[in-house]
Each structure stands twice: as structure tokens, then as C-alpha cells.
Amino acid sequence: MNAGLAVVAKDLRLAWRDRAGWASAGAFATIAVLTYSFAFDLATGDIRPLLPGVLWTTFLFASIFAGGQSFARESEEGTFDALLLAPVPATVIYLGKATANVIAMLVIEFAQLLLATILFDTNLLSPELLVIVFIGTVGAVALTTLLSTMSASMRGRAMLLPVMALPLLIPLLIGAVRATGASLDLESGTAPWTLLLGVFALWSALLSVLLFPMAVER
């Protein structure tokens, strides 16, 4: 437990010190939201039905981008080996890194929700939507953290990571978009999208926890 918290604290410290990776993800998300707001303003009168898709495609790409950066640095500096040499199960290392990534992503996402609330003149900071964003982020980051570990030492990892991650994230994307739509009163019907999103997030987190020790085995 203490080792896992040490990894979380270390990753957050590094994210703050070397802001290039997370700042790039944040800048990407900001530019995407701004671009969508200008484009939709010209194309359509009611932009609310498009908001869930805008938010979640932005969040998923930012998560893939930032997750890849986090492991690439560990791999280049050889520090990932140092983590694996610690007398703790690999799962603890994974949980520490994934938790730090979730926290950093939530900061970026909250900023984007704030920006989108202003630009699209719609309240995107309701407690219900924040819960959906949290669940979706946990599911997405769980997978991207695992996949970025696997791709960290590969050539062309910048391209490989999204190619591997996006197909696996489609169920989460559908669940998150639909649940977000429901929270904005855009969905008809009573499908429990938040519950389905939660199930997928839990499944992806458990799967990643189980697969991580195999992913780092050489």
C-alpha cells in the first residue's frame, strides 16, 4: 500500500515538474474543445446533442496521449526497471501509476468541462456528469496505462498506442457518450448507461490489473 502511494506521489510530482507531457494533453484537449465550439457555432443551431461526443473523443485522445508520455519517459530513463526491481507485486506498481494518471486526467477534464460550460452555454459541471466523467476516466486510463506499458519499448509507439487502444475503448466510448447524453436530458428511453459504463470501467480495470504482470514479463 505504502509502495503504491509512493508511486502515485512520485508520478504526480514528475507530472508537475516535467509538465510537457500533461501540458500537451491539456493543450490538445483545449484546442479540440475550442475548435468544436467554433465549428458547431457555424454549422448548427442546437449543439447540445453533439456535446457528449465532443467531450469523450477529446478525453479519450488526451488520455491516450498523456498515458503514452508517462511510460515512454520511464522506459527511456530505465526507471521502469527500477520499479520492477522493488520488492512489491507488479500490480502495486500498476495501481500506483494508473491512479496518478487518473488524477492528472481528471484535472485536465475538469478544466475542459469548465471551458465547455462557458463556450457551449450548458451546465457540464452537474454532480451526475462529474460521476460519469470519473467512471469513464477510470475505465479509459486503466486500459491506456496497461497498453502504454506494452508499447513503451516499441518503435513507433506514438502510433501503436492509439491503434491498440481505440478499438478496445469503443464500448466505453459508447457507454460514456450515452450516459453523458442522459445526464444532459438528451437521451430517450431508460437504458442504464451509467451502470453499463461502470461495468465496463470495472471490467477494464480488473483485466488490466490481471494482465499487467504478464505485460511486464520478459
Binding site: 509502495a3 509512493a6 514528475l14 526491481l85 520488492p87
Partner: protein, 227 residues
Amino acid sequence: MAPSGVTSPIVETHGLTKRYGGLDVVRAVSLALPAGSRTALVGANGAGKTTLLAMLCTLIAPTEGDATIAGHALRARPAALRRAIGVLAHQPMLYEEMTPLENLRFFARLYGVTDAEPRIEELLRAVGVWTRRHEPVSVLSRGYHQRLALARALVHRPAVLLADEPETGLDPEGVEMLDELALRAPGLTVIAATHRVDRIGAWATGLVRLEHGRAVEDTASVAGART
């Protein structure tokens, strides 16, 4: 130079083999190194030294065979084995954006070191980095990286030090410090891969020579304990 057979081995390998495709990088290496011994692992480039060390420190899984370090089997209790070893690798394995103090605090916490602060101060003073403990590692020279890597490897007081070319990047003063803290430290068992054959006599109590992955010469193992 060969140690006597009376000391029980702290590092034992039994037919340790690593195969990539059809190529045996390390072939059936069996060693029995006594506690407190200092073994120089020598051989040409590609002889299998680094792979053997990587297997011993659990970073690479052996294809065949097993090893025991300080009573912990490589395959059965890897986490317990990792607590018993310190690793000094090619790369210093340090976080460049963090200071020496922060790096050592992180690794001490990872290893559950209870008296972390005095231990860290002791090590940073010993490796000559104490006065630069608040500077980011990225601004320190290669030699300081290696000194700090040594402190990282020793922070949890390992019983066995596995080192790969430990003299790399060190000036004469740094090499002296390496000898004092690690290669000739009393009680510490050392296995170090090295090309500095001129220095082996200064610290090693035995030697294992690898050729094409096979141990062709072994003056380090406990007599009669090898299989």
C-alpha cells in the same frame, strides 16, 4: 583466490538458461557463491553476463533452471528475493527531474526502509552528493549519476549487490568510493560484470568466466556445491 568450501552459499543457480528463439544466450549456468564473496563476472561482449545478471535480479525470466538468493527462490518468491538484492545497472535508473534526496526517499519508501532519513544522509555523504542533494539529477554529471545509482542500490541494505560495469563513468575518486562502499564492503556479497580485468585483483575473491553463455571457468563457487 577461490573461497573455501565451509561457507554456505548465499547465491545458488541451478542450470540457469535463457533462450531467445533457438539461441542460448545463457546456457545451464550453475553457481554456488558464498556469503560475503565478491565475484567478477567476465567475458567478451555478448557472452551472457548482462542476461545472467538480469535473470538473477528477476527482470528476465529464465527459460530453464532456477536460482536462490538469500534463501529465496527466483521463481517461487521473486518479491522476497528482490528485497535481498541491490542492482547497479548500465543505466543509473534515476528520475532526472527529481533531486538526489527525492530519488532516494522514493526508493527507500518503495523498499519499506524504516530509518530512511539517516540512511539517505549517510549514503549521500558517502557518495559525495550530499552538498548537491537539492539539485535536479538532470544537472549532475555522468559520474554523479553513477554515484547516486550506487546509493540507490544500497539504500535498503541489500545482502547481495548485482552490478553491471559498476566503474562506468567514475573518476579515480569515484572508483575508490565504489570499492569502499560496495566492491570491498564487509559482509556484502557482490556479483559484478566487468571488462576492467586490471582491477579484478583489487576487489574480487573469485571469478566466473562466461563464453557463449556457458560458465567455462569458476573460481568463485563453494567447492563441491556446484552441480
